[in-house]
Symmetry: C2
């Protein structure tokens, strides 16, 4: 059966769903692989490298000609509609925001797997694209902050005096937040962090950060199923911001990473809190694309916020496509996630080989399934579609 790898069509998307390395892996599974010409160019992979790995390189990939279409960004509804009934898709599907595509996938009888829905169990870690891409984003956001900061991150003791290290505050200690903590620490900053899940204190410490304990009543269980953070109630959110304010004011760099999958990101930092920072400080809002943790952040743009008193500005960076900005390693990890998931769809018994036949008794396969046989299998998405 044939796996197709298209050139990503979204403007600014530089990743690719397969590398020559994963093409070898798929071919080793008995699959045929078609790669659209130029698909890997931005990630550093030439057509020749794909061909050498065993792929057929085609000038334009016809969705109707493949049994499985692997992708990075959610498909366009028209692409979904062009797939054959029974065809399989594997990639990031962003079901909560891409309902028209989900509808088109179901209508076309496609078996669509959304990597966002891969259960967070150890066996599926190697297919967890949210984690692999969050690693890239967490590293990247520190570089974005460091290059804009008018100061050093590390402490320097020089003949002309001692330069104290920059103070970095990270809000949200998921994969991206922990990675940001570790990277800022590597670069020599003094790093502190907060997360509404008290359990994250140890993880913050293990990356070299100091956990900021906020006195928000922790009676509510804030640890939700699946390890993700749940939303705080409005009152608790206001209390949280109030307690965070002095920590934000003291930071040279603030990095916010608090996202609630499928929902608007929580507002952690108001404009007034930003304006209370020192001139030249930098804020990176990693959740800018999902509504923003920081009031006034704009995805893909730097916004200058006048400090209180008017003696300078704070730069608020609305992070966008951060993983795509490091397409080589982001693709390396993502393609591996995709190939590992596809491998799960290929029965491994004696006499098997080269067949894509999802086993829905497997909790990873069932959990990641978005549409199958004309139906939307993911409950929250089915409900959202029904509510339209």
């Amino acid at each position: 059966m044939r796996v197709g790898i298209a050139r990503e069509r979204l403007l600014g998307e530089r990743r690719v769903a397969a590398t020559p390395e994963t093409v070898r892996q798929l071919v080793g599974q008995g699959l045929d692989v078609s790669v659209e010409s130029g698909a890997g160019a931005a990630a550093g992979h030439s057509d020749a490298a794909y061909a050498e790995a065993g792929a057929e390189v085609v000038p334009a990939l016809d969705p109707a000609g493949v049994d499985l279409l692997a992708h990075v960004r959610p498909l366009h509804p028209a692409t979904a509609a062009a797939l054959r009934p029974g065809a399989v898709t594997v990639g990031l599907a962003s079901p909560s925001t891409e309902l028209p595509t989900v509808r088109a996938l179901a209508d076309a009888g496609v078996t669509a797997f959304a990597l966002e829905l891969v259960p967070r169990i150890s066996r599926a870690q190697s297919m967890d694209a949210l984690t692999s891409q969050a690693l890239v984003t967490g590293y990247r956001c520190v570089l974005e902050a460091a290059i804009r900061l008018p100061r050093f991150f590390p402490l320097y003791m020089t003949a002309a005096g001692t330069v104290p290290p920059a103070k970095v505050l990270v809000l949200g200690a998921g994969v991206a937040g922990l990675q940001a903590i570790g990277t800022a620490k590597r670069l020599g900053a003094r790093v502190s962090a907060n997360d509404i899940r008290p359990a994250s204190a140890d993880e913050v410490a293990s990356m070299g950060g100091t956990f900021v304990h906020l006195d928000v009543d922790s009676a509510e269980a804030t640890q939700a199923a699946g390890g993700y953070a749940r939303e705080l109630s409005a009152d608790r959110g206001a209390l949280q911001r109030q307690l965070l304010a002095p920590h934000v004011a003291e930071a040279d760099v603030l990095i916010t990473t608090a996202a609630v999958p499928g929902r608007r990101a929580p507002l952690l930092v108001t404009r007034d809190m930003v304006a209370a920072m020192r001139p030249g400080s930098v804020v990176v809002d990693m959740a800018a694309e999902s509504g923003g943790n920081v009031e006034g952040s704009v995805p893909g743009e730097d916004v200058a916020v006048q400090v209180a008193g008017g003696a300078g500005e704070v730069t608020v960076v609305g992070l966008k496509d951060a993983a795509s900005a490091m397409p080589a390693d982001a693709s390396r990890l993502y393609a591996k996630n995709v190939a590992n998931f596809i491998e799960l769809l290929v029965p491994q018994g004696p006499g098997d080989g080269g067949e894509i036949r999802p086993d829905f008794d497997d909790e990873v396969v069932a959990g990641a399934c978005l549409t199958h046989a004309g139906e939307v299998r993911h409950e929250p998405t089915a409900e959202a579609l029904a509510a339209l």
Copy 2:
């Protein structure tokens, strides 16, 4: 006597020659200080902060009204001409490229001190602006590389496989080069480095880098007076490039820092050597403003070089104003260098105070003097002017 701090006039220059901290130091020496409004804005210092430190903040600084003018960039000849006879200047003067200003300073009877000329002896380290600004540039160039590289610097061991660390090659192991080595190492890269001074091997190792030994005949003494590198002869330069080529081809990031003060930077890397790198690789040429270590680099611009075979591009960054891009800490160190030098000009005996009276018996004062009493005191500059 009155010290003046002007707003820097050069486009893109964001540093300032005094901070509120150094204003306090100068006022403590019995000096009056005038600061031009807005002079410290880009470096994060408000007019109010200067006033609080004891400076008089003036809407526009009149060069004719001060006894000592401190500056970052070389003065404009018109500014030099407007100074009072007997006035003193302290700052970077770039004598080899700013001959008209040197002439104007001499003609105006100004006593000009060029911080580039401060002798490299331990007592003068705290006034060594080349070193303090090279520290900033060395750190900065690594960020400029990291943010453009489509890969991570550090090694990551993830559920989706191991990502090897980036390979960084640094050419030139002066202050900036060593700082680049240390910063790239901090970020987790595998770093190697070369310098034509064999003595630098230990320094490279102490920053965590691996010294690349080239088999260039080292019979010529390459360690020149003052600790700076001398130029290689043309033949030796070609041999050096030939020996460097395989190391360049293997690097993900190449940083070149080889500058010869007052001369054109040596060409270390040809376009062919760049084209032999992998697609996505990044080259930062720190010497772009003085002719470039890398063929085809353009100061202040990114140049894309097609790799041999045409399967991608290498980005060649012509670094420009790197210290100015981190104006807060660059100014912190620079202003301290300036204030320490000014302190040297103020006699410290009982009954003294607030007088600026250079003692030319002091080797630091004499060494740093560019013009005095109508004469150009720096021999090479005097010769260059005579040759015009």
